[in-house]
Amino acid sequence: MIEVATDALSIIATPGLLGWMLLGTLIGLVVGIIPGLGGTVGMSLVLPFIFGMDPFSGLALLMGLAAVIHTGDTFPSVLLGVPGSAGSQATIMDGYPLARRGEAGRALGAAFFVSMIGGVVGAAILFAILPVVRPLVLALASPELFMLAVLGLSMVGVLSQGAPVAGVTSGVLGLFVGMIGAAPGAAAYRYTGGELYLNDGLPIAVVALGLFALPEIMDLVRENSSIARGGKLGGGVLVGVRDALRNKFLIIRSASLGAALGMIPGVGGAVVDWIVYGVTKQTSRNSHEFGTGDIRGVIGPESANNAKEGGALVPTLLFGIPGSGTTAVLMGALILLGYQVGPRMVTTDLDATMVIIWSLALANIFGALACLAATGIVAKLTTIPGRLLMPFLVVVMVLASYQSTRHWGDIIAFAVIGLVGWVMKELSWPRVPVLIGFVLAGPAERYLHLSMSRYGTDWLTRPLVLAIGLLCFLIIVSGTVSHTRTKARGRTSSEGAKEAR
């Protein structure tokens, strides 16, 4: 296997293949930067050009693109507070507050550096696990997948900004937004009001853009401030890199968790992102600073979302089960290039698999270096006054939301959700739980339905189900304890201040 890996490295190191990989990396970064476009759109863009290409060149182009989507999408997440794609949602929690403090360069520096490490760790895990992964993946059935969705939902309590009732209510609201459209397991359309557009449900890009983009833009123009309050830039790229180096264990842990969760088909990037953010918050000291601009809140999810791509390739390559839209298109492309996904990818076509792994690792390095080089200039965008940015951002957001299904419904839904998001922001209702509820509504209901149909109530006693259930319980309990402690600490300090007066 090592021999094939070194052979594959010599193949990928040829100028032609490197060129294709860099082209894919460039397209991937552009697609990642534009909010609303994701890996699926990016892969679909290059798919027509793959046909007839030399297989290794095609693989390098595709993997270069897929590897860096979650590197490029950090720009909108940090600078605008808008998730660049589904897999970078949690980055906005601390990345945007850092940008508001004038530390966009620091947040981006840390994010790109850990994205690079995460991507390489993901590729290394993919390489190491290929021969032994089969029984692991097959051990996960619908009950475990349902419990993973519940694990994601349990993060709602953790991310409620100290308002548990409002947080859980927002999460429930998000679940309902996610329930719009065809019901899983029954021939019924729910809450569509007879609108054909809603039959497939609302696209995630529209919901994320509406919930976060419009309210932030409104805030900027109302305050007539720049994204970096005061118009000054503080910490630079190197400060972020140093922050990342100080948290090396967090990077490795989050990347490994991201790659492991990525291996589970059907657990999307958004779920991985939120789970890793929640775990990072729960296991960090002084976790009350999360959500206000804690660099660890950027490092955790950003390490995971690039590593997840390596993990997601396991079910795609070995079993022909695409875990996401991006891997589904990749699978189509592999077939176009003449490969048969399945066990052959680790036997007859092992060289192609190694080219994929090397492309993944190298594209992550090149992509992150390119982004790090551009960070200084891009971070200056945060000093432009809000009223000058607003019209351009509105145009970009509205047109980006239209890319979801290319239907006028996208634009109308964006405006309606944007107004609701604005009201929620003004009234200090947490908006993140809405997004988590929305993302998890489908998987939770689908896997619960499958579990009940296949196992009755017996699935509740499966060991992995019990283990994940216990983890959910611990997260909720530790979240409550930490919330109570923070409140008590706040009370003590205010009483102390009174006494001092």
């Binding site: 859980v168 329930m179 019901a183 833009i217 509205v398 939770a444």
Partner: protein, 175 residues
């Protein structure tokens, strides 16, 4: 439940009225969603029904806690007033509620809605460029040279994304 309690007439309590109204709207929304769920087939019903009831109860709890909070701040504000009256001197006034500051964003909401109308009438190219020019001139009072440069850049960017990334833009619904 006493919604029109003394708390909401106080200065701070008035600031909580929008939150109370929002929670009330959520209660109504969850009641409606639960009501709708009753007619779904059995397999499509259990999740919306369960979460509809949960959401309704939670928003009701939020309404109650908001009311209690308003009454509490109302009482403490009244006490402060009484104390200041007895000392016969002006106590420093609390910061005014942020309602007016929040309402100052409304013209921009109107601008965003206007953009949708512009798109509807003129499509992506015409609508975006005319709206951009209007905003920059009327709201930002930008100079014509800047407006022209910005609109040209936006037009070129929209065209380039269509050409090179294969993106599609909304066409005018009228023409």
């Amino acid at each position: 439940m006493m919604i029109s309690g003394a708390g909401f007439f106080s200065r701070e309590g008035r600031a909580l009225l929008p939150r109370l109204a929002f929670s009330g709207l959520l209660v109504l929304l969850f009641v409606f969603l639960t009501w709708e769920a009753v007619d779904f087939p059995a397999r499509a019903r259990y999740m919306p029904l369960t979460f509809g009831i949960l959401g309704g109860v939670l928003s009701l709890v939020d309404m109650v806690t908001t009311t209690v909070r308003a009454r509490r701040v109302g009482r403490s504000e009244a006490r402060l007033h009484r104390e200041s009256a007895s000392r016969k001197r002006d106590t420093p006034r609390e910061a005014p509620p942020e309602l007016e500051s929040k309402a100052s964003a409304l013209p921009y909401v109107a601008w965003v809605l206007a953009y949708l109308v512009f798109l509807w009438v003129g499509g992506a190219y015409g609508g975006s460029i005319i709206w951009l020019a209007s905003f920059l001139r009327i709201e930002n009072k930008s100079r014509w040279q800047f407006v022209l440069a910005a609109c040209t850049a936006a037009g070129v960017l929209i065209w380039a994304m269509q050409m090179f990334l294969g993106l599609r833009w909304p066409n005018s619904l009228l023409f």
